[in-house]
């Protein structure tokens, strides 16, 4: 019985993580709750996960999107490292959305690697949520 009822409707699964030495978790905790309230199933990687462990959680949990946030200027090394690990684990299709204190020039570099969003502090949650929905749906189309 495929897709019997509403409870089996596909929901966006998302992992929020700070993949570096950065304990400023206000943003990710707020985002986790906001994603839940937008109807998503939300995982949180906890404090100080390595890029590898973030990718491994994403893979086990088969999330659609990994949302990364850093305020410690390590985004140019840490975000691509997560991307690299996802590819290595056969999960290059999992979307990465970035955020934090990211200078404009770095945004472009991240975009080129397929890491999208790259929202600054104080971005309205709806804007982030809409973006996540957009990239998740894009992935779902490919999943078919």
């Amino acid at each position: 019985m495929e897709g019997t009822n509403n409870n089996m409707k596909r929901r966006i699964r998302i992992l929020v993580a700070k993949p570096a030495l950065d304990g400023h978790d206000r943003g990710v905790l707020v985002l986790a709750k906001a994603f839940r309230d937008a109807g998503m199933e939300v995982l949180y990687a906890g404090l100080l996960p390595t890029p590898e462990s973030v990718a491994r959680i994403a893979v086990d949990e088969d999330v659609d999107v990994v949302a990364l946030s850093l305020h410690n200027s390590a985004h140019l090394s840490a975000f691509p490292a997560v991307k690299k690990w996802l590819k290595k684990l056969g999960a290059g299709d999992i979307q990465i959305v970035g955020g934090g204190i990211i200078p404009p020039a770095d945004r472009k570099k991240l975009e080129k690697l397929g890491i999208t969003g790259n929202f600054g502090p104080g971005t309205p949650l709806n804007q982030v949520i809409e973006h996540v929905r957009k990239v998740a749906k894009k992935k779902w189309v490919k999943d078919q």
């Binding site: 199933e41 949180y44 088969d62 490919k142």
Partner: protein, 299 residues
């Protein structure tokens, strides 16, 4: 998307990416679900399932982390952790796996209840079949921990650990009334706390009530210090050799069928409503309406 058979054989060889994808197919009952179920249900169910339940805040996840560290030394271990779905948004925070320490050799999957009653996810049964099929020798399942009616874990687990902790007062009192007897092992966690002795005495009294149908083992542990974990592991191992009575297997299957039927009914609410109106307007008797509903659903 690769073909289902490719996914399955890749998952069989231990590819966690593809195990993850298969569980997703089951959770969403998306394309390929029926053939996947057919394929895996042919194999004998031999993953030993330990359910961990208990009120919120007793340290279920931390206890699982300790058990996982022990069992993963010699088992192919999977862990399924269930969190509540928000009734308002349909979303969920799957926070349980945060307590796990080292998951390198353990497949861990978090699930939301998705409106399913009894503290479990409808895809749990299917997922356990999948774990069996893929050769996981043991699966630990953490139920949601709302502290409410969560006896459904009975229908999926070979052995159940009821976790309690000292200083829970009213919550334990409430459990005494009905729920505690589902545990094969009653575990008093946080034994490192000073009030553990009082809680233990209270529990001993409760557990010796004569009309409790099962025999329980009370184990004092501390997920923080590791105290009592080895003893609990031994008890679980002992329970393993006496598992798998045919009648319990049939009981479990019965329950799964019942749950599936309830899910079907939930999804056909519009039909039921249509016939309810006819009963109210005296066009049909209730009995007739029931038959009509069933006919209509079966079509």
């Amino acid at each position: 998307m690769p073909k289902l058979s490719e996914l399955i054989s890749s998952a069989e060889s231990g590819n966690r990416r593809d195990i993850g994808k298969l569980v997703t197919i089951m959770e969403n009952r998306s394309d390929g679900y029926s053939s996947l179920i057919k394929r895996i249900s042919r194999k004998k169910k031999n993953t030993f399932v330990v359910g961990i339940t208990g009120p919120p805040g007793v340290g279920k996840s931390s206890l699982i982390s300790r058990l996982a560290a022990e069992f993963s030394k010699r088992e192919r271990l999977a862990i399924v952790m269930i969190d509540a779905t928000s009734p308002f948004s349909g979303g969920s925070l799957l926070g349980n796996r945060l307590r796990l320490e080292n998951t390198d050799n353990i497949y861990v999957r978090s699930m939301a209840t998705r409106g399913s009653t009894g503290g479990l996810n409808l895809a749990l049964g299917d997922s356990l079949d999948l774990m069996s099929y893929l050769g996981f020798t043991m699966t630990l399942v953490e139920s949601v921990g709302t502290g409410q009616d969560e006896t459904d874990i009975l229908h999926f687990a070979d052995r159940i650990i009821m976790v309690l902790s000292p200083g829970m007062g009213d919550q334990v009192q409430a459990l005494k009334a009905g729920q505690m007897e589902i545990g094969d092992y009653v575990v008093l966690n946080k034994a490192d706390k000073p009030d553990a002795i009082i809680a233990e005495k209270e529990l001993m009294e409760t557990l010796s009530i004569p009309d409790l149908s099962k025999k329980h083992s009370l184990v004092k542990v501390s997920a923080l210090t590791g105290e009592g974990i080895k003893e609990l592991v031994k008890l679980i191992d002992a329970g393993r050799s006496s598992k798998a009575k045919d009648e319990s297997v049939i009981l479990r299957e019965k329950e799964r069928i019942r749950r599936e039927i309830l899910e079907v009914l939930k999804s056909k609410d519009d039909i039921i409503e249509m016939f309810a109106k006819k009963v109210v307007s005296d066009d049909l008797t209730r009995e007739e309406a029931v038959l009509e509903v069933l006919k209509k659903i079966l079509k």
